[in-house]
Symmetry: D2
Subunit: 345 residues, 4 copies
């Protein structure tokens, strides 16, 4: 068994890691760091973990505990991981960082978008962007992976097979997210049950959301040219689940069935991508590491609509992090993840 | 007091009409027709009407009861109103039909889209499309108004002020609707609580939803040329509320504040349109006849994003129907509607 | 028009007062105090108030503004009103306090339960408990009313007609509340959307909730002896609405229909109490000042089950406060309240 | 691997069985019967099963397919299993029936409550009530198990450790259920999203719900005398989850901590019962086979309040069925169930 550490283990992404690793056949939880719950069992933060894990949260400690772990998951707010990563890399750990610290190949984009001075630029050069469907080979050889944001995961998986066949100036992504995406430590009127419930709202639209440049980085890399997309995130009254409805103008006419078949072939070997005959609903991906994709062509307008669904906390965070770590450790990519079932009702 | 009849009074739109008219200063409910609840008080279908109204539902009856009513609201499924309207018009009634029967100036579009042979083509020629913000003068002189669908109301109000300034081939409408929009008599797995809750799904996308040609009709009339839009409806887990997130490419650069000011001026005299500084949430329009609109320009992509919120059962159905009837009867347009407050939490 | 002041006008109860008074035929809003939103229009706190009210929030100010108002609603957290009330009473104002400060005839109960030293004991002696169905006459003559809590309102209205006919040691109240009852300024994990949604939990059970002694005070006054009840509040994932399911052992056998008829007669003149043939649902009281009550007798166990529903923010707060103020001012009791409709879907 | 058949495999309980058995280390799905989805893959009914199972639904077939399966789960509506069970028993199958057909030792109670003539009375005599915490030994030796209802499971587990220490005439169970408990094939206004959402309602109260005699049967067997309980089910707007809030008068004073310790000892060896220090929430049991129990004593009234939470579809249906089958087959009781994790947010 590989020993793993989780730093930031009492947040939502951390809770996902705890739950997945508690059942992982080849990775075990060595250290779970949470300042808030230091000294308490994991069931104090996640009552559903009672009888599933005996792990006790640790406070920051001296760092030596982390060094005993071959695999390290960093699940803290932005700007924290960059301080830990240099020592951990020197220690020989395999690291998946779930924050934005190591997602950008051009560190100046990170600094502009997140308004944080990057203190581990050297290490950032070694980081690989952790979308296995796009960078699997690089991830297998990486020691440091920047785990993608949830919106970029849903959006890029939707557009990946078709981005070269559309007018790259026409891409619009209208995304809908469950509230857990805001994180567990966000206490404000914005996430108060009584304000969110029975309502839908858009926020940080017209290119102002921080996931916009992350989406653009991936699509630009695929195309080999810099593109800009219109990205609109919405908050909807669900706890977990994310949908990206993506639009683009086709450059050549194609019918729905042909395009769907192209998607099926494109993703035929992907263990966690399902190309659906019907339009997908977020519900059926909740609790799993899968991305469900449906699509249709409007032949009147020449616009393709691609609907992509994930669990924002699994494929959009903890599950994808474990998928990346599996690849980095040379384990089966699906270990600990293939048994995570989607919901039935 | 004007006597009004409501046919189809136990559905959701009918319930909205009952509630609004119970408080209307100049219109009273004369007849409420519901086959399902015939002989029962309105509180049997809508327990919240207890102590608010003593009206008793009637079954179909002989029609003479309807003829006593100067104002008639038809709130049945598509294909019913066309059979009642000829006699009612002959009787001199003012009619607002909430179904799709009288929404299309080109009756062949209706027949193609709804797969129903229209039996009142003559009367359809006299019908006015009941979006007061677009056709107020015509409505004031009409005897028959086709009340707009909920998606077209939200979408056209969003696009109306800007449609002449955008690339008309670039219009995309990504809409999100509460489940009450499906109607009260729809019992299927699609509307079962356990399936809808904690999920979001798209349906009838890529031009296949029946509200697409209705939206296109209005926008084409404004522009004086035939256009096609990409329209994607989504079902989200709320009972009431609808958002249309609309996208279009600007033909000339403009900044957000200038465009917002244009919207403010465009709608300055409209009693039920609010142009917001912040992005709107559906919650704040629920229970009211108002449409809240927010917008931003993405100067990088030249795409304008307009977010429009309504209560699908009020401005999207019953409230707009009363607004139209007020206009037809020469009453103050806001009578019975201006006191309907939005929710506070 | 009577001029009214609202102190604490940007909370949920305050928002309810703003909305009700914006439509009240005989009371107008003179002053709306909110430190958070001082200088901003009410639509800044409640976007649904746009076009419904032009009132601008004031900060604390010098108090002279309050003195110009004949009617004062205090809607702040516990322990604040007691500091304002002495001056306001001296000024001749009619005051409804929505906090717990003036709900207890025995001020030592307040001090023990709320852990606040009462600084207006003299004034507390003049306060009347504002449940019109129990103390209407006293309220009409009062200058200071302590507006009941939401749980006590739902519970006492359920038990009032039967409390003398049951074993007073057997009363159990199992209550379910929407999350808005927690107030708008409560930001914690307890009210985070992602934690509340898709879950139900009990809290402060076994006599520890602060509404327990308030319920016991009313029931004890009716009976003329001190009783204790078992009270269990639950948080359920709805924004507005409250149900109290009340249990008690009958001392004499009685059948359901006879008991229901007794309830009907007991409440026959009450404008805001509806005794239902069917079991009520909270949905149908939301947005209204009404309490819907249903009941059944289990003849096998001799236990009566009474189900009582209110909107916790209307009959449980703002609506009842206006009802009390109407009585204090000699206005029709239902003014501004009878047109508030329940929801239709 | 043991081959298992599921009859009624496209309902919610059936979906739970499919998902659990897809990951079970020692049982595999041999046959999944669904008339509605015959010939389609399980992902047609449960899109979340894509890539998790290749099983294809069968229609009724000739019965020989069922006979090949050592283990049979019957998950149909009441009155169906009794027709299949005699042949299956003769065939030597181990059977868990999730309907009510084999839950009552006194078949006349079943016939009175369910209004169905029982056609397998002989077999009913051999049936064991499948609550492992109460009848583990009998289940291990049984060929036919009647799987308990969800309300009885939550209620009896709550009361089991204390029922002998309370006034057995004082037991009140106030239960709250998610809507999936109604089943997947229930299409009516009662389960329409727009009616259920944002509301709570009680139904079939005062002893009229069919789970009342099932609860009474278990408690009466423990006590050795016939008792009646007051049982009130409520429908709350969640998909999955069930809470039973149970009340009883203690016959001897006891404090909360002593009683809680008694519960801890009582359930110390139970793999799926968690006695909590804090009051439990349903959320944390969703997706797992666990029952979380919290409790407090109100020393003023002598009433104990016990709060019990389960996932109505797992411990309340499919999970408990697998737990029973594990026992019947001599497999580890927790096989396939211990890795089912509770939710983290």
């Amino acid at each position: 068994m590989v020993r793993a550490a989780i730093v930031g283990a009492s947040g939502y992404a951390g809770g996902g890691l705890l739950r997945i690793l508690a059942q992982h056949p080849q990775i075990e939880i060595g250290v779970a760091v949470s300042e808030t719950y230091a000294g308490k069992p994991v069931s104090a933060a996640f009552p559903g973990m009672a009888k599933l894990s005996n792990v006790v949260f640790e406070g920051k400690g001296d760092g030596s505990r982390l060094r005993d772990c071959e695999a390290v998951f960093l699940a803290q707010e932005n700007g924290k991981a960059m301080h830990l990563v240099p020592k951990l890399l020197a220690n020989g750990s395999k690291i998946v960082d779930l924050s934005a610290d190591f997602r950008f190949s051009d560190v100046s984009v990170y600094e502009r978008v997140y308004k944080i001075t990057h203190v581990a630029k050297e290490e950032n050069r070694r980081a690989v962007y952790g979308l296995p469907e796009l960078f699997r080979d690089d991830i297998q050889n990486a020691s440091l992976v920047g785990n993608p944001g949830c919106y970029p995961t849903a959006s890029v998986l939707a557009l990946l097979p078709v981005v070269s066949s559309v007018d790259h100036n026409s891409i619009i992504i209208d995304a809908k997210s469950g509230v857990s995406g805001a994180g567990r430590a966000k206490f404000s009127l914005d996430y108060h049950y009584a304000e969110i419930n029975e309502s839908v709202s858009a926020y940080k639209i017209a290119g102002t959301h921080r996931h916009t440049p992350e989406i653009e980085q991936s699509l630009s890399q695929i195309l080999g040219l810099d593109i800009a997309v219109t990205f609109t995130p919405h908050l909807i009254p669900i706890t977990r689940g994310m949908m990206a409805t993506c639009y683009a103008k086709l450059t050549e006419p194609i019918d729905t069935e042909t395009l769907r078949e192209h998607y099926r072939e494109f993703y035929v070997d992907e263990p966690f991508v399902v190309v659906c005959d019907e339009l997908p609903a977020t519900k059926h991906t909740v609790g799993s590491n899968r991305c469900h994709i449906g699509l249709e062509v409007d032949e009147r307008t020449g616009v393709i609509t691609i609907v992509s669904c994930i669990d924002n906390l699994i494929k959009g965070a903890a599950g994808q992090a474990v998928q990346n770590m599996n690849l980095m450790l040379g384990l089966p990519e699906v270990a600990g993840l293939d048994t995570l079932g989607g919901q039935f009702p």
